[in-house]
Symmetry: C2
Subunit: 334 residues, 2 copies
Amino acid sequence: MPSLPETMTAIAIPTPGGPEALQPETRPLPKPGPTEVLVRVAAAGVNRPDVMQRKGMYPPPPGAPDIPGLEIAGEVAAVGEKVSRLRIGERVTALVAGGGYAEYCVAEEAIALPIPKGLSMIEAAALPETFFTVWHNMIERGALKAGETVLVHGGSSGIGTTAIMIAKAFGARVIVTAGSPEKCAACRKLGADVAVNYKIEDFVAVTKAATGGRGAELIIDIIGGDYVNRNYNAAAMDGRVVQVSVQAGPNAAVDVRMIMLKRLTHTGSTLRPRPVAEKAAIGRGLLEKVWPLIEAGKVKPVIDSTFPLREAAKAHARMESSVHIGKIMLVVRA
Amino acid sequence: MPSLPETMTAIAIPTPGGPEALQPETRPLPKPGPTEVLVRVAAAGVNRPDVMQRKGMYPPPPGAPDIPGLEIAGEVAAVGEKVSRLRIGERVTALVAGGGYAEYCVAEEAIALPIPKGLSMIEAAALPETFFTVWHNMIERGALKAGETVLVHGGSSGIGTTAIMIAKAFGARVIVTAGSPEKCAACRKLGADVAVNYKIEDFVAVTKAATGGRGAELIIDIIGGDYVNRNYNAAAMDGRVVQVSVQAGPNAAVDVRMIMLKRLTHTGSTLRPRPVAEKAAIGRGLLEKVWPLIEAGKVKPVIDSTFPLREAAKAHARMESSVHIGKIMLVVRA
């Protein structure tokens, strides 16, 4: 293990704005707190909240780094005094509070997971955000069971591709929405039973037709806006709708009588503000139930594209173009 | 037991309209099906769905009688061939599919419950609709726990008064909304810790002030309309909102981001269309957990007023005036 440098390259946001607002800067190495480890970053994932943060619309929570980046993979380079499990040199993938777009990043030991066998560092860094989100919302909160039908909006997104594979591995039937024939084909290739091109088809009608009129038992929604009431229409009796994001906006006109008549449950969550202990509990579920599926080759993160750290602006431009299928990654150390 | 007459008086709705649309008619006695009993009705409850049905806005489900009335108490006068538990002459209170505004009414044996000791027939007939509704939505679906705060809208309604008493008996703190100082006082007398006169106070602000800014863990809502988004505002982190009716209308403009940020659960149900087996399961919960509270004097149906069967129109006029506190009852046999 080389001795630690005093400074590192990180991607900062000196002034919020377009992709070009992302600027390489030299920063001091962050210091791990008592329960944290310092990770020498090999790769980091790009996520929608990073784009929001870059635009100045999603300030980091108090105490979090101002550098964007919510997920990393790399080697442990230093450990806090209360760290008990991880050792210097171990390879981990971690959900972080920010600071992932950098050569070094601190991570709570409790949410730094071992890298599943067979995955590259880039693939490993693509896991935390979408796998924590999908596991909690689709399995823990949404209680998806074998034999049920789940409707996943944004099927070609990081969350969508992860949801397709985990749902299929758990024995569910999967309907997705996506915005082009190519994206629909990619979703089918990952296992989706039905892919709806939302630009030319009505997902409510397709979902009902594909379920003998019953509707979907579970709906995972990253869209919001006018999808909310349509989700109520597309849901089965006793169906659940889990709100994971609101990319089309938070305001919805709904008929709440449908909640009563169908005995629906509409719930949702955000990952970032939750206490470390709650994130650690989600991580234990992943380690026990999903890491084996990854190691068996049944589930695998879908990588859309990779960019060197210094070209983070290009990575953001690609995310905002919405042509990507799966995860956009930053390579920090080849 | 006298022999059964061939006909009876029932209150029919020859033409939908105002309260005067309720007309006494002579009808043949209904015949119990194999799993049903015929009840000689002593008293029947008046409920909002009866008013809707009278207006022609809530047709009875297929197979249900055209006579209004969803709850009765009386004596078993005849039994179907597969009835195993109830005997002629036994006193029961029953949730019925319709037909309660009559001298005789059929009831499924599985949802005809024994009358709690100490209650009159009128009090017993006031139980089914509100107690089945409150038990299922507040305890089973809403999972109210001791120490939690529940916000109950329409605190002086049949559902509201029942919810106050059951919530207090289960160790919860109760905030209610009601539309006059008299109604607020009545709710406090039944045990409500805080009563909000919604005409002059904002229930969101009062709920937050009464919970140290946290909000209510559970909200039982019969109002809908613009209350829905305000409920999301008034709810605590991880709070539950259970929709029981939509008296202000089903259309709501909501900020679904609140569902995510607070990890809310919005659910709800209607009682009438559920299969008998599901209603029977709710009834078993009541018999086990709530009938003992009634027999111990801790929970008691609140009777607003009683009217003779033939004056059902007056009972409806009173319900529509919204001055009542608790249940409006029809006395069929003194």
